[in-house]
């Protein structure tokens, strides 16, 4: 039943490795971009605030598929942006990371904002009373606590991101979903086995993330 795995025709581990790399790079990128966005959304400069709010509202309401297809058709095929990739899989991979960061950053921003909301007002007031500037209040007092409070929502964002990497198949990154599409076409008689293999792969990728970060959320939570 699972003999298609032994045929050596499909690079299953390679495909999941691409998925894992997509998730990892996008996670790092969207953490940075999301932090920047949330700093803008709470900053005292009105223009930055409105930019942050507008960006989050617009991008969050756009389907990820549209973002990624836009990256391929718009950025790559129309404007010939390759992000330094040479083979089409490389280009697809890099564009996918770009699109995933642009999209997931908004969810990271919202998770962090809910984390900032848990920091008692007295903390920020005390920090200001000590003469700290806005940047100091944010980076030394508020954000560290916000990150610890936001571990659970951030874990959910990371899990969603891992599953969202499958959309990259739409722009030709050689990830797990891309391979599954190919295998479904070639191995139609082993359909259930193919699905089981990929379902198992994603459970292996997402379940430990949830468990580890759930444990970390309990450890890191600021006791109040």
């Amino acid at each position: 039943m699972f003999d298609f795995l032994d045929s050596g025709q499909y690079d299953l581990l390679g495909a999941f490795w691409v998925t894992a790399k997509l998730a990892l790079y996008s996670a790092i990128g969207s953490l940075i971009w999301g932090t920047a966005l949330v700093s803008m959304r709470v900053s005292p400069v009105p223009l930055m605030r409105s930019f942050g709010t507008a960006y989050v509202n617009i991008v969050r309401n756009t389907p990820l598929t549209v973002v990624l297809v836009g990256c391929l058709l718009g950025l790559n095929q129309t404007l010939s942006i390759t992000l330094g990739g040479e083979r089409s899989e490389d280009i697809g991979f890099r564009l996918a990371v770009l699109g995933l960061v642009a999209y997931t950053g908004t969810f990271v921003c919202e998770a962090l904002r809910s984390g900032i909301n848990t920091v008692p007002a007295g903390q920020a007031e005390a920090a200001r009373a000590l003469g700290m500037s806005f940047t100091q209040v944010l980076t030394l007092v508020v954000l560290p606590q916000a990150f610890r409070a936001a571990v659970t929502p951030l874990a959910n964002v990371l899990i969603a991101l891992t599953k969202n990497t499958t959309v990259a198949a739409a722009i030709g990154a050689a990830d797990a979903a891309f391979l599954m599409k190919e295998m479904i076409e070639n191995e139609a008689d082993a359909l259930f086995a193919v699905f089981a293999v990929f379902a198992f792969g994603f459970i292996v990728l997402t379940l430990p993330t949830g468990l580890i970060l759930g444990w970390a959320a309990k450890r890191l939570a600021v006791k109040r």
Binding site: V45, M48, P63, L64, T65, V66, T78, L79, N156, K163
Partner: protein
Amino acid sequence: MSSVLYDTPGPRAKRRNLVYTIGFVAVLALVGWWVLAALNDKHQLDANKWSPFVTDSKVWTTYLLPGLVETLKAAALAILIALPLGAALGIGRLSDHRWVRVPVGAVVEFFRAIPVLLLMMFAAALYREFTTISSDFRPLYAVVTGLVLYNASVIAEVVRAGVLSLPRGQGDAAVALGMRKGQTMLYVLLPQAVTVMLPALVSQLVVIVKDTALGGALLGFEDLLSQNRQITANYGANTIATLVVIALIYIVLNGILTNLAGRVEKRLRQGKKSAAAAIPAQSAAPEIEAKTISGA
């Protein structure tokens, strides 16, 4: 909220904010100029690429509106099937019987862990191999199946969180009145939980609308997104203009839904002030909220 982080700006802070504003505008303008120059270079800003959307009603009647109808049809079908199924799974997971609770829990966790796209691709292949559904309808069936399986399990979790967020006393009181388990759930717990769940359920609609686009990109579902191929083929390679218009339709549609969810939540919160804090929605909300953010 944000005003907690900084004081009302004094003269110095105002000046500093002005400097930041100017700097930020400069960066934005630079990026904007670079984008526009790149677009102009490839003739994507030419009037004839954008004018069809304003002047030619055929773009709308032949492509965009039928695509939007397909998108809405898939989303509506998915929510209509997923809501009762999700409610049933959620209640099943709260069952007193181990043999109901455990399998239902396994099913819910399984479908929540798997990307919607894989479910859709699997469903499409399943329908192709084992059913006689004509190939015209197969993509719609596949998209709806994938959406239902995933969203029913998410809704199940929302229902469970909603019921668990109710004060224990509500269930105990129902038991004290001699209600059976089914009655307790149906007449006491669920009606209260629904108000707690409502914002989360409405925002789940956004997730469903967004996920229909997967079928358009990968399964040959003729939804709103897939119309970009037709339009760019017929109106002179206006890829960027088409994608911008399509994205705008999604943004407006989902913006309305997000707004609705926010309004419902606000009303519930206001209602709570007068009707005493019977339901601790505040503590339950983040739980539920966190579960609905997932996209595909």
